[in-house]
Symmetry: C2
Subunit: 151 residues, 2 copies
C-alpha cells in the first residue's frame, strides 16, 4: 500500500505540466478519479474549459464492464487532454478515448494520468509514475480516516 499525499501530487502536477507539449484547448476528466487533477491542471494550463465524463465500472458475471455517460459537448475545440488519476486495467481510459474519438473525429485527443500500471491495456501519452502497489490517494483517505478517528 502506497500513500499518495498532497505535497507529492502538487509536484506531480508540475511535472505533468512540463511534459504536456500539446497546447490543449480543454480538459476532459474521468469522474470521480480525475476531478482534482483536472482542476489543478486547468488552472496550471490556464484552461477554463474543464469538462467531465462519467465512467462507471461494474462486473458482469466474470468480466469488468465500463459504462460511459454524460459525454460533454466538445465542438469548437481542436486539441483535448483526457485525464484520470490512475490507469490500472486501462479499460476506462481506453473506452473514454475511443468513444470521444468516434464522436469527435476532427479533435486531436491526448491522454494523461498520474499513475500507470505496466500491465494496463492502454498507455497514456503523459504519465508521471508507475503504480507498483495499491495507491491510497489523499482525496480518498485524508477525510475518511480522520472522520473515523473523530467518532
Amino acid at each position: 500500500m502506497q500513500y499518495y499525499g498532497y505535497e507529492m501530487f502538487r509536484e506531480d502536477i508540475k511535472e505533468l505540466v512540463s511534459q504536456i507539449d500539446f497546447n490543449p484547448d480543454a480538459i476532459v476528466a474521468i469522474s470521480r478519479g480525475g476531478l482534482t487533477m483536472a482542476h489543478f491542471l486547468g488552472i496550471a494550463l490556464d484552461l477554463r474549459r474543464v469538462y467531465t465524463i462519467n465512467a462507471s465500472s461494474f462486473f458482469n458475471k466474470v468480466q469488468q464492464r465500463i459504462q460511459i455517460s454524460n459525454i460533454p459537448e466538445l465542438n469548437g475545440n481542436q486539441r483535448i487532454l483526457i485525464v484520470d488519476e490512475i490507469v490500472d486495467s486501462g479499460t476506462s481510459m481506453e473506452k473514454v478515448y475511443t468513444i470521444l474519438k468516434t464522436i469527435y473525429s476532427h479533435i486531436d485527443f491526448k491522454t494523461a494520468c498520474i499513475f500507470h500500471k505496466p500491465t494496463a491495456n492502454f498507455k497514456p501519452d503523459f504519465i508521471v509514475r508507475e503504480a507498483k502497489d495499491w495507491v491510497e490517494f489523499f482525496w480518498e483517505v485524508d477525510i475518511v480516516k480522520s472522520m473515523r478517528e473523530r467518532q
Copy 2:
C-alpha cells in the same frame, strides 16, 4: 487577501459533511471551482455519481452574464447536492440551480459552498465560511506560484 490551504479545506469538508442532513444520491459540481470539493465530498459521502456543469462568466457591456453548458443527465436521482467553492455574486449558483430545477422538477436540489459572501444574491443551504476578503484557494496558487519560482 486570504490564503486557503489544503489543511483548512480538509477540515471544512468534514464540517460540511456533518452539516449535510440530506442524504443525496449525487453531486453536481460547478466547473472549474467546485471540482476538488466535489471529488472529496463524493468520497466522504460515498457517492459514485459526481457530475459537473459548466458555468462561464463573461461581461456583456455593463452586466455580468453567465452561460451554462453541459447539463448532466440526472434522471434516476431523487436528491442532488449542487456544489461550488465560493458563492460570490451568487449569479452562477442561482442560474445553475434554476436551470436544473426547471428541467428536473421532480428532483430535490440542495446547495453547498465553502465560502459565501453576505452580499451574494443566493444563499446555499450548507455554508462553511463567510468570505470577508479575496480568497486564494490552494488549487489556484500552490502550483502556479511554485512554477513561477522555478523559472
